[in-house]
């Protein structure tokens, strides 16, 4: 009777008394348990699991922001900000400036953009075009994620009209670096008109 012995340390009286008190205490715990109050912590979800699930949902939201930021920063010609969306070893892969290019890291991506676009000035009163970013398909796994999405580029035509001009899609691998989601690899495809 280990329980009896444990109780006897705290309670006076003979062994029968101790046994009765011990039994009563156990009954008390049993009643509390049956009331559903005692094991309340055990039947709730482990906090770590819930935290991980929240982090995955937050990750998907942050990645959607990243995919939209990419288009926005390109459209307003913030090439520095655009290049910072890439991880230190993150790559941009696709046709740009007439040939297939792989640019690595923010500095490499910035150099590629400057080589093709120069140092363009964005004028909000004379917007020449913009990217619609849509069809986000995002899967988060811990600190890594994959995404697929579409881009549709609209331009201002010769007569100031809105012209759907180019369309394609992105295949991405993403990574969380210092708490921030970045492009680990972005593959850029143009679908219509097809690349020559």
């Amino acid at each position: 009777m280990k329980w009896g012995r444990a109780v006897s340390v705290c309670l006076p009286g003979d062994s029968r008394t101790r046994a009765v008190v011990a039994l009563g205490a156990m009954l008390g715990v049993a009643v509390a348990s049956l009331a559903g109050l005692w094991p309340a912590r055990a039947d709730s979800l482990p906090p770590a699991s819930l935290a991980a699930r929240v982090q995955a949902v937050e990750g998907a939201n942050q990645i959607r922001d990243l995919l939209i930021s990419y288009g926005h920063l390109f459209d307003v010609r913030d090439l520095e900000g655009y290049s910072q969306l890439f991880a230190p070893n993150g790559t941009w892969n696709g046709n740009f400036g007439g040939s297939y290019v792989t640019a690595r890291g923010p500095a490499g991506v910035l150099a590629m953009m400057v080589r093709v676009l120069g140092t363009p000035h964005y004028d909000p009163e004379k917007v020449t075009g913009f990217h619609l970013m849509t069809n986000f398909l995002i899967h988060v796994q811990g600190d890594h994620a994959t995404a697929w999405s579409r881009w549709t580029y609209f331009a201002r035509g010769k007569h100031n009209e809105l012209v759907p001009s180019l369309a394609g899609h992105y295949d991405d691998a993403l990574v969380r670096v210092n708490g921030q989601w970045k492009f680990e690899r972005r593959e850029v495809f143009r679908d219509i008109p097809p690349e020559k």
């Binding site: 009286g13 029968r16 008394t17 009765v20 008190v21 039994l23 009563g24 205490a25 156990m26 009954l27 008390g28 715990v29 009643v31 509390a32 009331a35 109050l37 005692w38 309340a40 912590r41 039947d43 709730s44 979800l45 819930l50 699930r53 929240v54 995955a56 949902v57 998907a60 619609l132 849509t134 069809n135 986000f136 398909l137 995002i138 899967h139 697929w148 579409r150 549709t152 759907p164 001009s165 180019l166 369309a167 495809f189 679908d191 219509i192 008109p193 097809p194 690349e195």
Partner: protein, 190 residues
């Protein structure tokens, strides 16, 4: 007699002590534990809802992706066992029925070639409402195609009215209605 009285007293004292001990346990642990459990359950339910919305957003996009790349088996498996599709090419029920409908509709279409993409769907304006193992959504689709002279052209636009069901832990279309909005589908109308 004395030993019986003494025994009764002991048993009585034991029960009072045990009741006090049980009461103390409940008083010390029950209110915060119950509150915590309720809060945790409520938090878990809110997280579940966010996960469900995210899964349904992906489902809405996968539908377009599978359709545009002519992954017809993948497309049909996005529907529940009794899931229905209703739209411009007719209506069908269940993955097998929906697959047959699409195969028939696309019988004359050339196979998908990623280097010669002819068209695609933009999926936008997702409005999702989750209610336990059921959900509803509305969204818009805009169909773009490549013209014979290789230009990008918006061709058709419409919307989706959806009901979803969680089937074996996966969100599926229970019913999808896909009306065309522009051009107007009614013959003779412009």
């Amino acid at each position: 007699m004395r030993s019986v009285r003494s025994m009764r007293w002991l048993v009585g004292t034991g029960l009072v002590l045990s009741a006090l001990a049980g009461g103390a346990l409940v008083a010390m642990h029950a209110p915060p534990a119950a509150a915590e459990s309720s809060a945790a359950r409520s938090l878990a339910a809110r997280v579940q809802r966010l996960e469900d919305e995210e899964a349904i957003r992906n489902l809405l996009v996968e539908y377009g992706h599978d359709l545009d790349t002519q992954n017809l088996v993948g497309y049909s498996n996005l529907f529940a066992k009794d899931g229905t599709w209703t739209g411009g090419i007719g209506s069908a029920q269940g993955p097998a029925g929906i697959l047959a409908m699409l195969q028939k509709a696309l019988a004359k279409a050339p196979p998908y070639d990623p280097n010669k993409v002819r068209s695609f769907h933009l999926m936008t304006n997702f409005y999702i409402h989750v209610d336990g193992n059921r959900a509803t959504a509305s969204s818009k689709w805009t169909f773009f195609a490549r013209t014979p002279d290789n230009k990008l052209m918006p061709r058709l636009a419409g919307h989706y009215d959806d009901v979803f069901v969680r089937e074996d832990g996966q969100w599926k279309f229970l019913s999808r209605v896909a009306p065309h909005d522009i051009p107007n589908p009614t013959p003779g109308e412009k």
